[in-house]
C-alpha cells in the first residue's frame, strides 16, 4: 500500500464542487455550502407514479400526501433510490443485520414483569375500565372516488 502523499492527492483531478464556489470574500454566507450529491450518470427525469399506486400507498400507510409537494417528494425519493441499480450485486446475499454472525439472545419463557395495566392505560385518551376504546372496526377507508383529498382532485 503506498504511503499517502496528500499534496499529490489534493492536486489530482478530484471532481471539484460544481456550480457556485464563491471564494471566501468575507461575506457571511461564504462559498462552501455543499452541492447536491451526484444524481447519477444521466439525469433521468423523475418517474411518474400513477395515481392508483399513490392511492394504494396512502391506504397502506394511513398517511396522506396532502399536496403536490408530497407527491413530488416521493418521486424525487424514487429517482434518488434508482442509483442503486448502478451497483453490481450479482452473487451478493442481502444483509439484514451487522450482527448476523451471532445468535440473538433468547431468555427463558418465564414471566418476569407485568401487572402494569394502570400505567399503560394512563397514556390512552379513550379507555373504558381496562379496555382501550376504538371506533368501529371493519369499515374500510373511503375509496379514492369518494374522498375529498388532494389525490382525488388530481385524478
Amino acid at each position: 500500500m503506498r504511503v499517502l502523499s496528500l499534496g499529490r492527492w489534493l492536486r489530482a483531478g478530484r471532481v471539484p464542487p460544481r456550480g457556485r464556489v464563491r471564494l471566501n470574500s468575507g461575506h457571511r454566507h461564504s462559498g462552501h455550502r455543499p452541492q447536491a450529491p451526484p444524481q447519477g450518470p444521466a439525469q433521468v427525469p423523475p418517474r411518474k407514479v400513477s395515481v392508483e399506486v399513490l392511492d394504494h400507498l396512502e391506504h397502506l400507510a394511513l398517511v396522506d400526501f396532502r399536496d403536490s409537494e408530497g407527491v413530488e417528494r416521493l418521486q424525487k425519493a424514487i429517482q434518488f433510490a434508482d442509483q442503486l441499480h448502478e451497483v453490481n450485486t450479482d452473487g451478493v446475499e442481502p444483509m439484514d443485520s451487522v450482527l448476523e454472525d451471532r445468535c440473538l439472545y433468547l431468555r427463558e419463557d418465564d414471566v418476569t414483569e407485568g401487572n402494569c395495566t394502570k400505567e399503560l392505560l394512563e397514556n390512552a385518551r379513550e379507555t373504558v375500565e381496562e379496555y382501550f376504546v376504538a371506533p368501529p372496526g371493519n369499515i374500510p377507508l373511503l375509496k379514492l372516488e369518494e374522498q375529498n383529498t388532494y389525490l382525488q382532485g388530481s385524478k
Binding site: L57, Q83, T89
Partner: protein, 526 residues
C-alpha cells in the same frame, strides 16, 4: 469500583472533597439553562426531580458513599429516550403530552449511578434530519453563534445588536444534546445515531460525539427509527468523559436482544505517547464533492500530524461509499414505514377526534401528528416495500449494504487500525441558508460522511479539531473496528491532546462564573 478510584476528575473530585455540592452544581446548571433559553436546546427541564436527585446525591457524598464517578453529575437526555414520569415527545405532535411509563435502559443506568437528569433535549422530529430544525418545538441554535469567536469573524451589521439574523444551526438530529453540552449546561448528554445524528451536531457544536458499535449499548427505550442501525450516542466535552459514559452504559441487556452477550469491561484510556505502531487509513472516497477546502485542509493537516508522529498513514479505498447514502435512504425509509406504524392514537400519543371507523381515526391521527418529513419517509418506505418493488429496492439495498460493510472489512483486514475522515462537508450553516433546501436533500448531503459507519455497525467518534475561518467548530471523524472502542478512543484522545481545541467563549457562561465553573470550563468531570 476500580475505575472510580483510579480516575482523577476535576468536578468529581470537587464533589468528593466537598468543594462543591451536587445541589450547587445542579442549581448552577439550571440557572444557566434558563439564561441560554434562546438556544432552544431543551424541550423539558426537569427542575424539581433534578434538584431532588441532587439532594440525594449530596446525602450520599456526606456519608462518603457516592454511587460512582457519575454521582451528582448533571446530564441531559435526547427526547427520544423514554424517561419515566417525564414527557417524551420526539419533538412531534404525535407524542406531545406522552408521559413515559418506564425508563430506557441507558437512562436507568445513568440514574442508578446517581447522575442528575436535567431535562430532555430538542431534536428533529423523530430524529429525522440533519439540522435539528424540523421539530415542533422549533430549531436548536448553535451556541457558537453567540460565541466571541464567531462574532469577531462576522461582518458587523447596521443593527448589530440584533441577536436574531445569522445564528447557525447546531446540526442534527441530536442538536439539542450537542448544544446543551457545548454551552456548559450539562456535562454529558445522550443522543442517538442512525446516520450520523450524534457525530454531525458534535462537529458543528465543537464537542465529542461517540457512536458506539451497534450491539454494544442497549436500545431498549430508545424510540426506534431504523432498528438495524440505531445506537444511543454519547456527547461530552472530552474523550475521557466519553469513555466514562461508555463504561457505564455498555453491556448486554436482556431487554434488548440485539445487544451482544460478550462481557464488557469498562476501561480507562491510556495516555498514548507512541503512535508508531498505528496504521491510519485515509479513505479517498471521503473527499466527497462539496467538501469545503477548509475541512480538506484540516483533514490533510491531521494526516500529517499522525505521519510526523511516526504513524503509518495510507490511502485506502471504500469503493461503495457513494452508494451508502442511497442505500441508507431506502433501508431507512423502509424501516421507518414499519416503525411508525405503531402510532395510531389508540394506546398512547395524539388521538384524532374522528370517530367514523378505526382506519379513518388512524389516518386522521397520523395526518395530524406527523410532519411532512416523517410522512414523506413513511410513504417512500411503503413504496419501496411494495410487492413489485421489494426485490428491486429493498433487497437490492440490503445487498449493497453488505458490499459497504465488506469494504470496511477488507480495509481493516489489510492492517489499517483506524480510519480518519472529515465528519461534515463544511462548518455550520446559517439557519436561513439551511432551510432553503428540504430535509431529504439536506440529510442526503450532510450524512454522506457519517452514514457508512452505521451501515457497517462500526464505532465512530467526532473529535473537535479547530475553528473555521468563520469562527465555527470543525471536527474530524475516526472510525474503528467493531467493538474496539478502547483503541478508537485512545487514538481520539491522543489527537484531541494534539489539537487543543479552543474553549467556547460565551457571555452567558461568564456571567455565571464562579470558582467551580472556572475549573469546569477547561476540563470536564473526568
Amino acid at each position: 469500583a476500580a475505575l472510580k478510584d483510579a480516575l482523577r476528575s476535576q468536578v468529581s473530585a470537587a464533589l468528593k472533597e466537598g468543594r462543591v455540592t451536587p445541589t450547587e452544581l445542579c442549581q448552577r446548571c439550571l440557572a444557566l439553562i434558563k439564561s441560554t433559553k434562546f438556544l432552544n436546546a431543551y424541550i423539558t427541564v426537569t427542575e424539581e426531580t433534578a434538584l431532588k436527585q441532587a439532594e440525594e446525591s449530596e446525602e450520599r457524598y456526606k456519608r462518603g458513599q457516592p454511587l460512582g464517578i457519575l454521582d451528582g453529575i448533571p446530564i441531559a437526555v435526547k427526547d427520544n429516550f423514554n424517561t419515566a414520569g417525564i414527557e417524551t415527545t420526539c419533538a412531534s405532535n404525535m407524542l406531545k403530552g406522552y408521559i413515559s411509563p418506564y425508563n430506557a435502559t441507558v437512562v436507568q443506568k445513568l440514574l442508578d449511578q446517581g447522575a442528575v437528569l436535567l431535562g430532555k433535549t430538542n431534536l428533529d422530529e423523530f430524529a429525522m434530519g440533519s439540522g435539528s430544525t424540523d421539530g415542533v418545538f422549533g430549531p436548536v441554535r448553535n451556541p457558537w453563534s453567540y460565541s466571541k469567536q464567531y462574532k469577531e469573524k462576522s461582518i458587523p451589521k447596521s443593527h448589530s445588536e440584533d441577536k436574531e439574523p445569522d445564528w447557525v444551526i447546531s446540526g442534527g438530529s441530536s442538536g439539542g444534546s450537542a448544544a446543551a453540552v457545548s454551552s456548559f449546561t450539562c456535562f454529558a448528554a445522550l443522543g442517538s445515531d442512525t446516520g450520523g445524528s450524534t457525530r454531525n451536531p458534535a462537529a458543528h457544536c465543537g464537542v465529542v460525539g461517540l457512536k458506539p458499535t451497534y450491539g454494544l449499548i442497549s436500545r431498549h427505550g430508545l424510540i426506534p427509527l431504523v432498528n438495524s442501525m440505531d445506537v444511543p450516542g454519547i456527547l461530552t466535552r472530552c474523550v475521557d468523559d466519553a469513555a466514562v459514559l461508555l463504561g457505564s452504559l455498555a453491556g448486554h441487556d436482556p431487554k434488548d436482544s440485539t445487544t451482544i452477550q460478550d462481557d464488557f469491561k469498562p476501561f480507562e484510556l491510556p495516555n498514548l505517547t507512541d503512535v508508531s505502531k498505528l496504521s491510519i487509513g485515509i479513505p479517498k472516497e471521503y473527499h466527497a464533492p462539496g467538501l469545503s477546502s477548509e475541512i480538506l485542509a484540516f483533514w490533510s493537516k491531521a494526516a500529517d500530524l499522525f505521519k510526523n508522529a511516526g504513524a503509518k498513514v495510507v490511502e485506502v479505498s471504500l469503493p461503495h461509499t457513494r452508494y451508502s447514502i442511497v442505500c441508507y435512504h431506502v433501508l431507512c425509509t423502509a424501516e421507518v414505514a414499519s416503525n411508525m406504524a405503531r402510532f395510531d392514537g389508540l394506546e398512547y400519543g395524539h388521538r384524532s377526534d374522528v370517530k367514523d371507523s378505526t382506519e379513518s381515526m388512524y389516518a386522521a391521527t397520523r395526518r395530524e401528528g406527523f410532519n411532512d418529513v416523517v410522512r414523506g419517509r413513511i410513504l417512500s418506505g411503503n413504496y419501496f416495500l411494495l410487492k413489485q418493488n421489494y426485490e428491486k429496492y429493498f433487497v437490492k439495498a440490503q445487498k449493497v449494504r453488505r458490499l459497504i460493510a465488506s469494504d470496511f472489512g477488507k480495509v481493516f483486514r489489510s492492517g489499517v487500525d483506524i480510519l480518519l475522515t472529515p465528519t461534515t462537508l463544511s462548518d455550520a450553516a446559517p439557519y436561513t441558508e439551511f432551510i432553503q433546501e428540504d430535509n431529504r436533500t439536506r440529510s442526503a448531503q450532510d450524512d454522506i460522511l457519517t452514514q457508512a459507519a452505521n451501515m457497517a455497525g462500526l464505532p465512530a467518534i467526532n473529535v473537535p479539531t479547530a475553528l473555521s475561518e468563520r469562527g465555527l467548530p470543525v471536527g474530524l471523524q475516526f472510525i474503528g473496528r467493531s467493538f474496539q472502542e478502547k483503541q478508537l478512543l485512545t487514538v481520539a484522545k491522543w489527537f484531541e491532546k494534539q489539537v487543543q481545541f479552543p474553549v467556547i467563549q460565551l457571555e452567558e457562561v461568564k456571567r455565571h462564573d464562579s470558582g467551580v465553573f472556572q475549573q469546569q470550563k477547561s476540563a470536564s468531570f473526568s
